[in-house]
């Protein structure tokens, strides 16, 4: 019987416990990527590092934006900006399920009182040209995480296979803390001198972004940005591997991938503005996927991607 673990009292305490837990399991605790993304998977620490043969273990919080999910801060569960906790270990360790369950215990979920289930859910990201098999993890009927064994990313077979865990932090925390509306959730310790709720911090921004996402964002500008990002991504990758100035082999996979991320987010914004028809939608997704594939092709030509001169 594991020692009784105290219940966390705030959103940030849950994040801190996850950070500590995965640090203790040997993951590099990384920071969020400094760009707008739709999910933690887009962080290069996942997308690019799941490629190639080198071992990898990373954990991080990733702020994620889904413009279409904006509800002006009114819906108890839906946000256009939210946090994901992401773990990626390559090769996937044989006890990954147990490691994952340990993380739930670390944030105060008592395995003896709850019903944890692994329910089939295959993951696919059409924009990243990626797919994997795994489950959604249920706790008492609620989905608390995605658990995926990556099989392909950017059109490349994953060898070795990475194990990916994604926690929807707000939803998980609301369940653990017993909160019904996300905006009511204590963000820091409610006993502290200046207690702040999730709503104190994010209600206003949810409103502002919902309005901008749905009605104000200049679609001509977004469209132009999309094409520029696409063009820039391709032009970066068109440069020869050897840098004429330093004479070194420098494949610019990451700068190119930044442009791919940008294009992907711009597409999401355009989608939220309702200017992309059903038929066009597929074409846009295809364009982003083409970029992701090129970036993946470039990454495996880098040292981090397992390339070596010999």
């Amino acid at each position: 019987m594991a020692e009784q673990i105290s219940k966390p009292r705030s959103f940030q305490e849950i994040i801190l416990r996850l950070q500590n837990y995965w640090a203790g399991k040997g993951c590099a605790v990384m920071q969020p990527y400094d760009m707008e993304v739709g999910a933690g998977t887009f962080h290069p620490a996942t997308t690019l590092r799941s490629l190639g043969t080198k071992s990898w273990a990373a954990a991080y919080v990733q702020p994620s934006r889904r413009p279409t999910d904006g509800r002006y801060g009114e819906n108890p569960n839906r946000l256009q900006h939210y946090y994901q906790y992401q773990v990626l270990i390559k090769p996937s360790p044989p006890d990954l399920q147990d490691l994952y369950l340990g993380s739930l215990e670390a944030i105060g979920i008592d395995m003896d009182m709850h019903d944890i289930r692994f329910v089939e859910d295959d993951w696919e990201s059409p924009t990243l040209g990626a797919w994997g098999l795994g489950w959604e993890v249920w706790c008492d009927g609620m989905e608390v995480s995605q658990f995926t064994y990556f099989q392909q990313v950017g059109g490349h077979d994953c060898h070795p296979v990475s194990g990916e865990l994604t926690y929807g932090l707000e939803r998980l925390a609301m369940y653990v803390l017993g909160i019904d509306h996300v905006m009511d959730m204590p963000y820091n310790d409610p006993q502290t001198e200046i207690p702040l709720s999730y709503g104190d911090i994010f209600r206003q921004t949810e409103e502002e972004y919902s309005r901008w996402n749905f009605d104000v964002a200049n679609t001509d500008v977004l469209l132009k940005h999309f094409e520029e990002a696409e063009e820039e991504c391709e032009s970066i990758l068109d440069h020869p591997y050897v840098d004429p100035k330093t004479g070194k082999r420098i494949v610019m996979a990451h700068p190119a991938y930044d442009q791919c991320i940008k294009a992907s987010h711009l597409f999401n914004l355009l989608d939220a503005r309702g200017v992309i028809s059903v038929t066009e939608r597929q074409a846009y997704i295809g364009r982003v996927r083409a970029l992701a594939k090129k970036c993946a092709d470039a990454f495996v030509q880098t040292e981090a991607g397992g390339y070596s001169e010999e």
Partner: protein, 751 residues
């Protein structure tokens, strides 16, 4: 005789794959063992979320020794031939025997394959099974390259002898070594334990909170669920598929019943049921007195100190969040419905049905117009049919159907009722999709039937117009189902309708839409004029030519020459129409064959006039089928064939067609005269019978020809030396042919 126990222990196997996987494991292993000579007395396979298990009883402990003799070349054959034989048989020179044969001394190789121990064979067969397992989807994990549905963790493989002693069958598959160990429930088990045989295995699993047999788990769930519901005066809504799935999600089922918040009880029961089933895998529990769904059953995978209270509370909370969504959709939708659904139909102008066939809104307009045209056939008021068609698909824009596509149609009915539309219209919203499959009923209401026919005919003609017909196993737009739907609605309602006309005009409408952009001035108008002509006169060819004639010679009229748009469309429509009718006939043949009607009987009726009137066609086929089962029918068929054969041969030889002019005055024998009289009588009976579509009467009149025809052939030689007499007889035979072929094409009947 040892028993074999195999368990493949992995991370969670998708519930929908478990039953099939257990069967595949059994089949592949037993097939492999039997092929290697290891027979067994009994086999059983089981699955849980984390394991596939196979138990074999009474396995041979070794495969039998097999002796095989192979005849080789003659002793004096060239050295090369002998060497080839040695290689092929896998023996050395000194193992060959010389034997006397008819051709002299010949080499024989006697190959003896000694039996092999069971353990060796099992290891080979199991490894082969694991490496080639037919999972619908499989994956790799870690740094390995082995594929399984999810990571495979351990292999238990033991042979247990009669004394109950177990021996591990050793193997190593990509680092996974077989053993005699397994484990029980993920959370309630006590770690890994050894197993000595199947009974021990089942007992220890149960001790560690795993019920191995999925059927036992399902029984347990169903018993407990119905008991708990019964105790509250309620009943569980039966759902076999859900029960199987849920039994595949748990190793130790614990049934918990919870309440649905009062604020949700007014949602339509189908919405509650669908939401709970799809999202949460809950069973619905209804009050038999009111029919309302009031509670839910969830199945947990463990026992807890608080008897499931925490688990149930969590599930209830998730359900409330889900149903809040559903309630939100329902209330928003009702508002739109009560304001007349225009918002939804307007939205369908932005939804593409198919990139060549246009938007859903355009499709609905076509279906509505066609519904107006079909309505009189069923005695339905055209305005009512049009109104029904206009709203029948409005619910596709509703929030509820966006969330739960499987509720399309049903929600349409609720919303149409809420909008205060006529009951027939509301019914059509739900029923016009039917029949969806062979087991689905055809629509009950006449308005529903009209809209259903219009919907299906528009779909069929549309995809025919753009040449997207089903090929082989590919039928992405479910056109076979649409065709069968048309057939079943027409036949079930005894509906008398000539489909040709509707098919022609609908094909033409699609062609007009498809050519709208590229057409020159006047062309579309001319085609639309043709549509009006069809509506009035009903025949495409005549309508089209009338329009063309009017255009020709007129100043500024569009081009009507070869290769012009008008000609191309004018040529395409009849071809497509014929092809689509043939497709309907093919589906009809399959449908009637399933009802026991012979395919040649159908063939004999397909080519008869009015083949686009399916009800008439089937009536004829049934009458003919019944007729051919009688003695008279069978004999008449033989008589007809004999007459037809003689006639065909004579026509080929003489190069003429005998069809007219038989005269009784050239008749020589009584039998010949009798046949003349019989034909006159039959003709007099058959003509009015055919006119009133009384096929039974026509065929029984035809049956009366049997005796005179038989007597005629008995007594008369057709090919007389007298040419006048011969010709007269051939013309007489032609009358038989003509009368019979007027009823059905008997040349298509086999035998």
């Amino acid at each position: 005789m040892p028993d074999l126990l195999i368990e493949l222990f992995s991370e969670e196997i998708p519930a929908r794959m478990q039953a099939r996987a257990a069967e595949d494991l059994k089949k592949r292993v037993t097939d492999g063992l039997v092929e290697a000579g290891l027979t067994y007395a009994g086999a059983a396979a089981f699955s849980t979320p984390r394991r596939l298990t196979l138990a074999l009883e009474g396995l041979l402990d070794k495969s039998p020794t097999v002796r095989e003799e192979r005849k080789g070349p003659r002793v004096d054959a060239p050295e090369k031939a002998i060497e080839g034989f040695l290689r092929g048989a896998g023996v050395s020179r000194d193992q060959l025997e010389e034997r006397d044969d008819k051709k002299g001394k010949v080499f024989f190789a006697v190959i003896e394959r000694p039996g092999r121990p069971a353990s060796e064979i099992v290891a080979e067969v199991l490894e082969n099974t694991i490496r080639n397992f037919p999972w619908p989807k499989s994956m790799r994990w870690g740094a390995g390259s082995l594929r399984w549905v999810r990571p495979l963790h351990s292999i238990l493989c033991i042979l247990t002898n009669d004394a109950g002693e177990a021996e591990v069958v050793p193997m190593d598959i990509d680092g996974i070594k077989s053993g005699n160990m397994t484990e029980g429930h993920r959370f309630m088990g006590a770690g890994r334990f050894p197993v000595s045989g199947f009974d021990d295995y089942v007992a220890k699993l149960k001790r560690d909170r795993v019920i191995l047999d999925p059927a036992e788990r399902a029984d347990h769930i169903w018993q407990d669920a119905t008991n708990q519901a019964f105790a509250c005066g309620l009943e569980v809504v039966e759902d076999r598929g859900l029960l199987t799935e849920v039994a595949g999600l748990v190793e130790w089922p614990v049934v918990l019943m919870g309440e649905i918040g009062a604020e949700f009880l007014d949602l339509p029961p189908e919405v509650l049921q669908t939401s709970m089933k799809e999202h949460q895998k809950f069973f619905s529990v209804k009050n038999p007195k009111t029919g309302r769904i009031e509670r839910f059953i969830t199945v947990a995978n463990r026992e807890t100190a608080d008897h499931g209270a925490t688990i149930l509370a969590g599930n209830q909370k998730v359900l409330s969040a889900r149903l809040s969504d559903a309630k939100f959709f329902w209330e928003n939708d009702l508002r739109v419905a009560k304001s007349g659904m225009h918002q939804w139909t307007d939205q369908l102008t932005n939804v593409t049905f198919h990139n060549k066939l246009g938007t859903q809104a355009a499709r609905i307009d076509r279906i509505a117009a066609l519904s107006r045209e079909i309505a009189p056939v069923l005695g339905v008021e055209p305005d009512l049919a049009e109104q029904a068609a206009k709203v029948a698909k409005a619910d596709l824009s509703s929030e509820m159907v966006y969330e739960f596509p499987e509720l399309q149609g049903l929600m349409g009915r609720y919303y149409a009722e809420a909008a205060g539309l006529p009951a027939e219209v509301a019914a059509a919203c739900e029923e016009h999709y039917s029949p969806l499959g062979p087991s689905d009923d055809v629509p009950a209401g006449d308005v529903s039937k009209v809209v259903a026919l219009a919907d299906k005919l528009d779909t069929l003609t549309g995809f025919w117009a753009i040449d997207e017909k089903p090929t082989g196993s590919k039928d992405p737009f479910a056109l076979r189902r649409a065709a069968l739907g048309v057939i079943r609605i027409v036949l079930a309602g005894d509906i008398r309708v000539h489909l040709d006309r509707f098919i022609d005009s609908q094909l033409l409408k699609h062609k007009i839409n498809l050519n709208h952009l590229g057409a020159s001035e006047g062309e579309i108008e001319a085609l639309e004029e043709t549509l009006d002509e069809i509506a009035e006169h009903g025949v495409f060819g005549a309508a089209f030519h009338a329009v063309i004639e009017r255009l020709e010679g007129k100043d500024g009229a569009p081009d009507t020459g070869d290769g012009s748009l008008l000609r191309t469309v004018g040529d395409a429509v009849p071809d497509l129409s014929t092809d689509l009718l043939a497709f309907l006939h093919d589906r009809l043949k399959v449908h009637l064959r399933d009802e026991g009607v012979r395919h040649d009987v159908i063939d004999a009726c397909l080519g008869m006039p009015g083949g686009d009137d399916l009800t008439l066609l089937v009536k004829r086929a049934h009458a003919l089928g019944g007729f051919l089962k009688t003695d008279d029918g069978e004999n008449l068929l033989q008589g007809f064939k004999r007459a037809n054969n003689i006639l065909t041969q004579a026509e080929e030889k003489d190069g003429v067609e005998y069809s007219f002019g038989a005269d009784v005055k050239f008749a020589e024998t009584d039998e010949e005269k009798a046949l003349f009289a019989a034909l006159d009588r039959a003709q007099a009976d058959i003509t009015p019978a055919m006119q009133s579509e009384d096929f039974e009467a026509a065929m029984s009149a035809m049956a009366a020809l049997r005796a005179p025809i038989d007597a005629f052939f008995e007594a008369v030689q057709v090919n007389s030396d007298n040419d006048v007499v011969r010709r007269n007889r051939l013309n007489l035979l032609a009358r038989i042919r003509q009368i019979c072929l007027g009823v059905a094409d008997l040349t298509r009947i086999e035998g």
